[in-house]
């Protein structure tokens, strides 16, 4: 008994202090090797009186476990120390640049279209689309703009044939016509898309974007129109208050028609929407002309409603402080990087339009 106690004390003592791996392994062999102290003690087990054997075995096992644990701890300690000392030499300069990240961008026009869709989605509009190439019927005639109408001169139209039958749509209004022809009222749609007019200067480009809105039901009046646009403008510019002015105007496809101005002021050369006493024209709208409804087989005595058309690019310019319309379409890498949006910035109803 005292033998193994002695072994225990001796080796616990040996395992104190700063030991290297070699020394610990040597101790391990001395204890648990073929002729190690503990191994030998176990061999004695058979020669011990049976009444003492049980106790001896129990003590021996206890001591064995204690020493083993001690050795294992020691080994781990050494390992940790070794790793730590190794890590000391592994320091890198973390201020060196990270690996290249491919950071893409969404064009402002696309972002604004998504913002617009998100806002109108909230008040029950769905998105419709139509072809970029139109025939003169859908672009003009069905919209109450017959061939001899001077209003046609207001649109500088790109034609695709000499008979002026086929053209690039000058507005998104033909989508109204197509939507109503293929469905039944009520209609509550927006139609964003590319539009074309042969005009080019700082504020006009031969291609631009419009969003058309149409709401037809049994009792939709000008109050609904005003309410809808008021809601949209407020949401779009993310301001609490806006000033909006309806001015009578003329479009062949609406009657009464209006142009809408919003109030703004200039602060440090930047346009601030919602305050100030200056007016900025941003859209055209009106009550859909009964002739248009007749043209698409909707009974104007039963159904009525409003339509509007907004310049998407212009909205984007105002909201994000972009000065030159033409730059939208010039694919200057620097411009795209500057005005583009992170693809993760998806405008949505629950998350809001922007961060």
């Amino acid at each position: 008994m005292s033998d193994i106690k002695k072994i225990k004390d001796e080796y616990l003592d040996k395992l104190q202090g700063d030991l290297n791996l070699e020394k610990v392994n040597k101790i391990k062999t001395e204890l648990f090797g073929k002729n190690g102290a503990i191994s030998n003690s176990f061999k004695k087990l058979g020669s011990i009186q049976s009444e003492d054997r049980k106790k001896f075995a129990s003590d021996l096992n206890f001591i064995k476990d204690e020493l083993q644990e001690k050795i294992n701890n020691k080994l781990q300690e050494i390992e940790t120390k070794e790793i730590n000392s190794k890590l000391k030499n592994e320091k890198v300069d973390v201020t060196l640049p990270e690996r290249d990240i491919d950071q893409g961008k969404i064009h402002p026009v696309s972002q604004v279209i998504d913002e617009i869709s998100s806002i109108f989605s909230e008040i029950g509009f769905s998105v419709e689309e139509g072809p970029d190439v139109e025939n003169e019927h859908y672009n003009f005639t069905a919209l109450n703009t017959p061939d001899n109408h001077p209003a046609r001169d207001m649109h500088d139209t790109f034609y695709l044939d000499n008979n002026k039958e086929l053209l690039l749509r000058t507005h998104t209004s033909p989508v109204q016509v197509r939507t109503m022809l293929k469905g039944k009222p009520p209609f509550k749609i927006i139609a964003p898309g590319r539009t074309y007019r042969s005009d080019s200067d700082q504020t006009h480009s031969p291609m631009f974007h419009q969003v058309e809105g149409l709401h037809i039901d049994k009792d939709i009046n000008m109050g609904h129109l005003k309410g809808c646009l008021n809601y949209f403008i407020k949401e779009f510019f993310e301001v609490d208050k806006i000033q909006m002015r309806f001015r009578p105007s003329h479009f062949p496809f609406t009657e009464p028609s209006a142009e809408v101005d919003i109030g703004y002021e200039l602060k440090d050369g930047k346009i601030v929407i919602g305050e100030g006493d200056k007016w900025l024209e941003i859209l055209g709208c009106g009550m859909v002309h009964p002739n248009v409804l007749k043209n698409v087989n909707v009974n104007p005595d039963k159904y009525q409603g409003y339509a509007f058309g907004i310049g998407i690019d212009r909205l984007g310019m105002l909201k994000y402080g972009i000065n030159d319309l033409r730059a939208f379409f010039e694919t200057d890498y620097r411009w795209l990087r500057h005005f583009g949006f992170d693809p993760l910035d998806v405008p949505s109803n629950y998350r809001g339009l922007s961060r």
């Binding site: 064009h107 034609y159 009464p256 795209l336």
Partner: protein, 802 residues
């Protein structure tokens, strides 16, 4: 449409301030473009300060002055005045100014070798006094804060410039504008004091309107004024004409113009002595010619409405007169015409001849057919007042009876459309002011439409009249309901938005380029699609609709490369055109990448972008959009603008007919032809219309979660195969051996070269084998191993590499 406030007040009796009037104009739908003083010649005379005056190097009596005229930089002026000295306040006239005294026009000129921009003026030159000794000296106290301001006060009247919508021809005359203002409560309409004119004798030039098919003229009124003396207009008339930016010509012409601007009643004055016998209003015959007052000769087509005499065409009715019968200063006898021409006819003729005149603009929109006598009376009166002469009785030829246009208007329609109420009597009042004749029957008005309002044809037009006069600010703002009946986006639109952001998230900048392009570049990418020419392109290098998404992308990549960018990733999602009919278009993503990956990286080796970069991005994009890449089939055929050996196509499924995407390096010939200066150029395209709807919704896409806990094994194989054998085929062969056991196949090496015959290559594959029912023992594994080897060897002619 321009007029002065004073002119307006000849028709409008009002106490309202000018600003109020201007505001009201916009409120009723007559948009005010500007409200400004007429610019005057004297505006170019500015208060100026001499900042510095030095001796002219080449002339004893001249000085070179630096003059502050209120702009950013001072101006150099050479001056001979002895009093031109530092700090003097004086009057500066810029180049282009006309000196009041001698009417001399200033130009930039060199005076003894020094350039002088304008001049400093003496009082005498400005007609202020006779003092010509030196330049004007202005008092410090009064002028020191006026530098840069106009020296002469502009006393001209303010001019209103209106933008009149095409439906309102009546407001192309000052009186029509006044009428709208009166309806809106801005004063009273003045009566025009039409002096009783004395008419003597008959208009003895016979007028006939021929009953041609689609005759463009329905009324032709005229009178003769004999014994006139045409002359320069008196000052009041000249001022009027000039105030609206027109040029006075002669009294007779100015009077006809004045009446046109005042009442929107176009008139034409002929020299009666130049008319050959009679006036015949008829359709033209093809090939007829005449010289118009714009001094151009016009060759006419069939069936244009012309005013002619026995010798031929005198003028195009309602559009332009001819030189043969024009009035001149020596004209003695005048035939004055006031007619009605049908808008459609006017528009057709002017379009065909590409001829735009003020008269055309008005007739095209619709002139009051009842204004003929009023116009003749007013013009004839003014002509005899100014030029003398005697007026004949009026002759009015008509092909149609006068008719009054009437409509019934239910009073309830107003609130139904406008959404707010106004009193019936207010409705009636507004309509009366606007010129309607009204009889009321219960809740309905029987309205006779004023003859000057061709735009009003149905009840809805009446609603508009009332709302606009009452004021759009009365319309309520009704909060929109937040109810959604239909999904905002359909599946295709959702896919569009998803792909757009998916591509962007892979490092591409989205761009939006024209739907049209340069036919020369388009040709390289159009394949067999029909070229769609634009008849009237904005410029000759944007002359066709794009048949492919690539021409513009490549064009702009080149532009950015030329800006000094090297590693560019751009994409566009938008339409391309297969033909010129509506709907013959496809929605396509094009994504292009140039240059290198890891350029100038401290820890990565740089490399050129290649076909596998494009492939990675396109596969990943499709995969993210919900298409399983394990089902994809990669074809090696692609459009000819790709590198024939380094490009491919992607089919969602092996059996699909149309590929959904292409990827690859751009054909080196095209890179060269377009002179694109880059090390490498790759691209992918996705055809959204070929992407099948994902019928399985996200919620159904998650199948039961199953996995195997049994041990998996990996085995590597290297096969030597013919070069034309594709990795995709080998993988497919191996996978199909036992779909339950073979979990994945990865290519980890491809080798050609030493130790391999030149027509062969070595492909090394790593195969993961795992059973879902048991742990495979060596025997099982050995079996599947040899099955893999034998199957691959049999099916592909490969040899296992030992």
């Amino acid at each position: 449409m321009k007029f002065t406030i004073g002119w307006l007040k000849e028709h409008l009796d009002t106490k309202h301030k000018d600003n109020k009037i201007v505001e009201k104009l916009t409120d009723v739908g007559l948009e005010v473009e500007s409200f400004e003083n007429v610019s005057s010649e004297l505006d170019s005379f500015k208060v100026a300060k001499i900042i510095n005056a030095e001796q002219h190097p080449n002339a004893d009596r001249l000085r070179v002055c630096d003059v502050d005229i209120g702009e950013k930089n001072t101006i150099k002026v050479v001056c001979g005045a002895p009093n031109a000295k530092k700090n003097l306040l004086t009057v500066y006239a810029g180049p282009g100014s006309v000196i009041p005294k001698n009417k001399m026009k200033l130009t930039v000129s060199k005076i003894r070798g020094i350039t002088s921009y304008g001049m400093l003026c003496s009082e005498s030159e400005l007609n202020l006094s006779n003092d010509s000794e030196g330049i004007t000296e202005l008092k410090q106290a009064k002028y020191s804060d006026q530098v840069g301001k106009n020296f002469f006060k502009n006393n001209s009247e303010k001019v209103i410039d209106l933008s009149i919508t095409p439906n309102r021809p009546d407001c192309l005359g000052v009186r029509g504008v006044a009428r709208d203002l009166v309806a809106a409560g801005v004063g009273k309409l003045k009566n025009i004091s039409n002096k009783n004119i004395k008419k003597e004798g008959y208009q003895n030039i016979k007028v006939s309107i021929i009953k041609d098919k689609n005759q463009g003229c329905t009324i032709f009124g005229s009178c003769l004024i004999k014994g006139v003396t045409n002359k320069e207009s008196p000052k009041w008339l000249k001022d009027k004409i000039e105030s609206i930016g027109q040029k006075p010509i002669s009294a007779i012409v100015d009077i006809t113009n004045y009446v046109m601007f005042d009442l929107n009643r176009p008139l034409h004055a002929y020299d009666a002595d130049k008319i050959d016998k009679e006036i015949i209003v008829r359709n033209s015959k093809k090939g007829e010619t005449f010289e118009a007052l714009d001094n151009k000769e016009y060759k006419l087509y069939d069936n244009m409405c012309v005013i002619s005499d026995k010798s031929g065409v005198l003028g195009l009715g309602g559009i332009i007169g001819g030189t043969r019968s024009g009035t001149e200063f020596n004209s003695k006898n005048i035939l004055l015409e006031a007619a009605y021409f049908i808008p459609r006819s006017i528009r057709k003729t002017s379009k065909l001849l590409n001829l735009d005149t003020d008269a055309k603009f008005r007739f095209e929109r619709g002139i009051d057919p009842k204004s003929i006598e009023e116009g003749l009376t007013r013009a004839a009166y003014l002509i005899t007042e100014i030029c003398g002469g005697k007026i004949s009785k009026f002759d009015v030829q008509k092909t149609e009876k006068d008719k009054k246009n009437k409509i019934k208007f239910k009073l309830s329609l107003f609130e139904k459309i406008a959404g707010f109420k106004i009193k019936d009597k207010d409705i009636v009042k507004i309509l009366i002011y606007l010129g309607f004749e009204i009889s009321k029957k219960k809740q309905e008005l029987q309205l006779t439409i004023p003859t000057w309002r061709p735009d009003i044809t149905q009840p809805i037009d009446i609603v508009e009249e009332i709302v606009r006069i009452k004021g759009y600010n009365n319309i309520k703002t009704l909060e929109p309901e937040k109810i959604r009946i239909k999904d905002t986006l359909n599946k295709k639109q959702k896919l569009f938005h998803f792909l757009q952001r998916s591509v962007a998230s892979k490092g591409y900048y989205e761009t939006v380029t024209w739907s049209f392009t340069d036919s020369k570049i388009n040709k390289l990418f159009k394949e067999d699609r029909d070229e769609v020419k634009i008849v009237n392109p904005i410029s000759s290098d944007l002359d066709v609709l794009r048949n492919s998404i690539l021409p513009n992308l490549i064009f702009y990549v080149k532009k950015n490369l030329d800006r000094g960018f090297k590693d560019i990733s751009l994409f566009e999602i938008g339409p391309i055109f297969k033909g010129k009919q509506p709907g013959q278009q496809l929605t396509v993503i094009g994504a292009i990448k140039s240059g290198k990956v890891s350029r100038l990286s401290w820890n990565e080796k740089d490399r050129l972008v290649d076909v596998f970069d494009a492939k990675k991005d396109v596969i990943q994009t499709l995969n993210e959009a919900g298409y399983d890449k394990n089902d994809f089939f990669i074809g090696d055929k692609s459009p000819p603008y790709y590198h024939p050996g380094k490009s491919g196509s992607i089919y969602l499924d092996k059996d699909d007919i149309d590929p959904v995407a292409y990827f690859g390096e751009i054909h080196p010939n095209i890179v060269k032809k377009l002179d694109i200066n880059t090390e490498a150029l790759v691209n992918f395209e996705i055809y959204l219309d070929h992407l099948k709807d994902n019928k399985i919704m996200l919620k159904d896409r998650k199948s039961n979660f199953e996995y195997s806990d049994y041990q998996k094994s990996e085995r590597d194989f290297a096969f030597i195969v013919n070069k034309n054998i594709k990795a995709q085929d080998l993988i497919e062969i191996i996978k199909s051996i036992d779909k339950n056991l073979i979990k994945s196949v990865k290519v980890f090496d491809v080798y050609e070269g030493e130790n391999i015959p030149s027509d062969k290559k070595s492909i090394a594959l790593n195969v993961t084998i795992q059973s879902s029912v048991k742990t495979l023992n060596d025997n099982d594994l050995e079996k599947i191993n040899s099955l893999i080897i034998s199957t691959v060897e049999n099916k592909s002619g490969a040899k296992i590499r030992s």
